[in-house]
Symmetry: C2
Subunit: 120 residues, 2 copies
């Protein structure tokens, strides 16, 4: 149902590794991982860790009265993650390699989000 959109994002961004739609409870709805030469990224585990982080950030946003969380991104030595809140229950995440195209990744998530939101 979501696989086609998830695949499109990963395949169309430089450095694309994996993407998923997940509930804030850490249960994945659908995911896509690109075949790589190296060890594959366990996108489900990554998503689960960040579903917890996103929940913490949503609470912080509430305390600080800065309105609803829309997007969270992070960059570490080996990974770029872009997460976009789709509905109060679900989020979309994209993982890129450290040299991946951050701007294009964000743009592609923005493009597919309305389609996914309509199906959730």
């Amino acid at each position: 149902m979501f696989k086609e959109s998830l695949q499109k994002v990963v395949e169309n961004v430089e450095g694309g590794v994996a993407s998923l739609v997940m509930g804030f409870d850490g249960i994945a709805v659908d995911a896509y991982s690109k075949a790589t030469n190296g060890p594959p990224l366990d996108m489900n585990t990554v998503g689960m860790e960040f579903s917890f982080i996103l929940t913490q950030v949503r609470k912080a946003a509430e305390i600080l009265e800065v309105g609803a969380l829309q997007e969270l991104t992070l960059k570490s030595e080996k990974l770029i993650m872009i997460m976009k809140v789709l509905t109060p229950e679900y989020f979309l995440a994209l993982a890129l390699g450290p040299e991946g195209n951050f701007g294009k990744g964000r743009y592609l998530l923005r493009i597919i989000a309305p389609k996914l939101q309509a199906e959730l």
Copy 2:
């Protein structure tokens, strides 16, 4: 000591609101807030909330073995936050209004980071 650099970033990015250098323990080293017509953003409180989040994200990055955290950004309805890890003890944060120039904010933090790192 850091005020000049912090002010330069806030004043040179569209939508700039405030910036600070803070320890991961939630204690600010220095901060700068732009004078606004509306209620000022309490950058110290915002920083404290996010020092906790950053610590959680660093733990997650460790569990996931994706290397050290370098940058965390978020966008909510009323705020854009860009946080950059300076040293294992300190981070740099920039707050922008929701229509602020995200790309330029990130760029400016990258530019001033080495200077701040050298002084920490």
